[in-house]
């Protein structure tokens, strides 16, 4: 049981990657990429978890209390922001692709048109 969160992270990564590889729609592809990115949140938070630890917010808890790792939580925050920015850019590109070619299927975009 103690390795379950890591297994979950690996599964999310692989299942998202499968979606990216087999995707027939660019919007769907971006969502699959978001699934891949969520695996990194799970991994980071799983590494930072300390058994019996509370949130690292010293509001009404004594100073010596065991807490989960605040560093990886802050890193996850950065991770989420980066994930949002890439999604926004990719979706904008998908909108442009649809406008120029009239399709969102990556398979139909094989030929590069000038």
């Amino acid at each position: 049981m103690s390795y379950l969160p890591y297994a979950l992270a690996a599964w999310l990564f692989l299942v998202g990657l499968y979606g990216v590889v087999t995707s027939r729609n660019l919007i769907h592809l971006v969502v699959c990429l978001a699934v891949v990115q969520s695996s990194t949140y799970v991994l980071l938070l799983a590494i930072g978890y300390v058994e019996g630890g509370t949130a690292p917010i010293f509001n009404g808890i004594p100073l010596g209390k065991k807490t989960v790792d605040p560093v990886v939580q802050a890193l996850t925050l950065t991770d989420v922001v980066v994930s949002v920015t890439t999604m926004a850019l990719l979706l904008a590109i998908a909108v442009e692709v649809h406008k120029r070619t009239g399709t969102l299927d990556p398979d139909e975009l094989r030929e590069v048109r000038g």
Partner: protein
């Protein structure tokens, strides 16, 4: 490459990757038994050094404040990219009428939800160093309130309240404010992004020095950036459906 060969290729390479991931994760300490050195150290010193109750806020806006500056500019650059991509290609004018007809119960719920969400967002930004939350999270909630106005109440009210020029300005002020607060440290004789205002009493709203200020500037930037992003996609939708 056909979908079939692609899937086959993925299954082959994916199973190798799965094996490697399993191997790597097996070498990690068991779940809940890793004690990060920096995390332990911060638990002991962070409250005394930064006077911020939330260690995550003190890591984000103090110990790792310089990284967060980079993070703000990643967001800024991405919004810039989306605006450049979508604005340049948009030839037709936007027809706001399309997003104004609403089912009355949705409109009523939206009218209640917008101010409540807006206030909640400001609360989350303001209390980021005392409780879970902070500039990034609160900024998104504030932006969600403004976007809710467009999707549930009235698009014209939205573009009146948050015209894109204003949202652009707010975003720029947030990002620039972060740098200005960092430079304030230099002016005060400390280092870049070092806290130069009084840390205050732990637990009070006016505490934690520049963490509070940086949290607000991040909140302002994130709210502005999210509204700009939403506006770009809204206008795209309205212009294309005509």
């Amino acid at each position: 490459m056909s979908l079939r060969t692609r899937t086959g290729l993925f299954l082959a390479s994916g199973s190798v990757l799965a094996g490697l991931l399993g191997w790597a994760f097996a070498g990690l300490p068991a779940f809940g038994h890793y004690h990060g050195v920096y995390g332990r150290a911060l638990d002991r010193v962070s409250l005394g050094q930064t006077h911020a109750m939330s260690t995550i806020a003190s890591v984000t806006f103090d110990y790792r404040g310089f990284d967060t500056l980079g993070e703000e500019f990643i967001l800024f650059a991405s919004v810039l990219g989306v605006s450049l991509l979508l604005r340049e290609m948009r030839e037709r004018d936007v027809d706001a009428k399309r997003l104004t007809e609403r089912f009355e119960p949705i409109r009523a719920t939206g009218r209640i939800g917008v101010p409540v969400l807006f206030l909640l967002g400001l609360f989350v930004i303001a209390h980021g160093y005392l409780s879970p939350g902070g500039g990034f999270q609160g900024g998104v909630v504030v932006a969600a309130a403004i976007v809710l106005l467009a999707i549930a109440v009235d698009y014209r009210a939205y573009s009146g309240l948050a015209p894109k020029s204003a949202a652009d300005l707010v975003e720029g002020v947030g990002a620039g404010g972060y740098v200005a607060i960092g430079l304030g440290g230099l002016v005060a004789g400390a280092t870049f992004l070092e806290s130069f205002v009084s840390r205050g009493t732990i637990g009070e709203l006016a505490s934690s020095g520049t963490i509070a200020l940086l949290s607000w500037s991040a909140g302002i930037e994130v709210a502005g950036a999210t509204v700009v992003l939403a506006s770009e996609f809204f206008e795209e939708l309205l212009a294309r459906r005509r």
